[in-house]
Amino acid sequence: MRKTLLIVVVLLAVFSLSTCSRGDDDAYEIVFIPKLVGIPWFTAMENGFEDYAAEIGDLKISVLGAPDTDPAAQARILEDAISQEPDAIVVVPNDTAVLEPIMARGREAGILMVSQEAPGIQNADMDIEFLIAERYGADMMELFVREAGSEGGYAIMVGGLTVTSHNQRADMAVKHQEENYPGLYQVTSRLEGSESVEDAQNRTLELAAAYDDLVGMIYIGSLGAIGGSQATKSLNRDDIAIVGGSVPSQAKSYLEEGSIDANYISNPYRIGRDSAYLVRHLLSGGTIADVGDLPEYGTPAIDGTVVTFHAPSEVTAENADMFGF
């Protein structure tokens, strides 16, 4: 009796969720696996994929993703996505090395395996790079120098100390500084907390107290600059430059009042559209060599299986609304 009750509950739970609509077999099925779901960046990118698919008509996008950036969780999701046997999988790896063997298995199964933001990946049919780490680091540092000058101490905060792509960009920014601005130096080793307003705010307040020579902060991660600007505002320290990469619609009011000095970020919606275009191009028989012009970012650089364009641009109070996220 009770057993059946439990069974009914589970049945209901599963069936109420199995609202998947399969069917139209002529459409290409694409699974998109972001680093994690539930943050504005990837939500905007999903929208880019879906809008492009709706316009073009023969693509069907589904999104699978973990609630956090755990590489092991992502590996398991990718394995499940391969079992789903779609036409293509686009994955943004949390840790490329973890996914390599699984990517290989997907290719063996005849699925077009595409990666995004995975420099050096071996087992992808195509890797889409919308950001050149050297250029990102250099641009970020140039913006920083514009706002803070080329003398004094600074610190870099990343989203998490274990986030590889953030660490790479931070390394490149430091490299650019060491080569061009010897007057600048890091007051402390890398910090973490750029994905939390509170952490960014608290660490910035502490740094401002601990180091008199601090002229500014660089935040890689979408909430760092928000927290940093709140910290400098409460200290009335306009002299500390806050340079980050926050969501434009959120950063806008801070940029207007000048508490965020510079904001530098890609437009994930447009990246999503270009990625969908690239995947469809390959699925419909095209090759990487003849991708032509992307609908959003023009002609990409092509090197083997790597398609590269540089999407990040500076967000100002004036152009913030044009980003659409």
Binding site: R2, K3, L5, L6, I7, V9, V10, L11, A13, V14, F15, L17, S18, C20, R22, V31, V37, G38, S62, V63, L64, G65, A66, P67, D68, D70, P71, A72, A73, A75, R76, I77, E79, D80, A81, I82, S83, Q84, E85, D95, T96, A97, V98, E100, P101, A109, G160, L161, T162, V163, T164, N167, R190, E192
Partner: protein, 346 residues
């Protein structure tokens, strides 16, 4: 033949009432998933996939189950597995010579695994000492060591991922013997050994005694402190074996890998009939629960259901299991009382 089977099942059912519902639940889940995914769930490729994903989760769940039987818990399994994996990875990358011969390769890999086991034992000794000898409640001890071990790993790696293990090592996570992946064989052997320890060895009996009544156990001459120390060392070693498997499967180690699995292990233990108040737990129940949970997750992923829905469904399943247990318990109570009354009337 069939009657024989039914009789056997009857007797198994009577002996294992606490997990008797699981085979049915497993069957129902598999059936639903097969229907809902239009058969994709049962394709050979997906079955291989399921087999590949189970071992690490199963090993970690066993690591969680052992202290749970003693009415404890080990929150530090993931962070101690990560610390073990990082040290093994550093060793493998540090000493592996270019183009080594077969003999050297085997020695180095065995050495790395031995090193990993030593690290796990040390980490387990700290937990076991604090729980057994200082009598710090297990939740607190392992909460503290969870933070500490993750901190140490973070300090060693400075946040970076250690990847690209030697090809030969990766075989542990990818090669097969007789159609079964090697790490699945590792899991099955470990599960069998644990089942024997639990249900056939004196230590296993002591474990259950400690879980149900530590004071009485102490008076009956069992060294409770030693049992607890052993428990946490075993738990840590199981997490260490999970680390060996995860390092091979994911080809990398870092401070925060697999953090999302902690909750799944608690859920699997609960679903598999392990009593968090101690004194009950069966390896077979745990294995069935793991397969059920894995099938649900995998099926939902095949259906393209958002992961947050999976999170919510797991929560609902846990409440469902608790409710089921409660009503079943009440049923037994009623039966017991009826029997008593019947006897009184005689």
């Amino acid at each position: 033949m069939f009657a024989e089977f039914v009789k056997r099942y009857q007797s198994w059912h009577d002996r294992n009432q606490d997990i008797a519902a699981l085979p049915w639940l497993l069957f129902v889940v598999l059936a639903i998933m097969t229907v809902a995914t239009g058969g994709r769930f049962l394709r050979a490729h997906n079955i291989t996939n399921l087999l590949a994903q189970m071992p690490e989760l199963g090993l970690l769940s066993l690591a969680m189950m052992v202290p749970m039987v003693t009415a404890g818990i080990n929150l530090s399994i993931i962070s101690s597995a990560n610390l073990t994996a990082v040290i093994m990875a550093l060793f493998l990358k540090g000493v592996f010579p270019q183009g080594a011969g077969g003999g050297t390769t085997i020695i180095i890999i065995v050495g790395a695994i031995a090193l990993g086991m030593i690290v796990s034992i040390v980490l387990g000794l700290l937990n076991g000492f604090l729980v057994g000898y200082v009598e710090v409640p297990a939740v607190l001890t392992t909460l503290g060591t969870m933070i500490l071990y993750e901190g140490i790993t973070l300090a060693i790696t400075r946040g970076f991922v250690i990847s690209s293990m030697p090809e030969a090592y990766l075989l542990i996570g990818n090669a097969r013997i007789l159609g079964l992946p090697i790490h699945m064989i590792i899991f099955l052997v470990v599960a069998l050994v644990m089942a024997i320890i639990f249900h056939r060895r004196p230590y296993g009996r002591h474990l259950f005694f400690v879980g149900s009544n530590p004071t009485a156990t102490a008076y009956s001459g069992v060294n409770v402190r030693r049992v607890l120390l052993k428990t946490y060392v075993i738990s840590s070693v199981l997490a260490g074996i999970a680390a060996v498997v995860m390092l091979a499967r994911f080809n990398s180690a870092n401070a925060r890998q697999g953090s999302s699995l902690l909750l799944s292990t608690v859920l699997i233990c609960m679903l598999g009939g392990t009593d968090p108040f101690g004194g009950f737990g069966k390896v077979l129940g745990l294995v069935m629960a793991m397969v059920i949970l894995q099938a649900v997750t995998n099926g939902l992923n095949l259906l393209g259901v958002r992961s947050f829905a999976t999170v919510a469904i797991w929560g609902a399943m846990l409440v469902g299991v608790i409710a089921y247990r409660y009503y079943q318990h009440q049923k037994w109570e009623r039966k017991r009382k009826q029997l008593q009354r019947a006897r009184m009337q005689q």
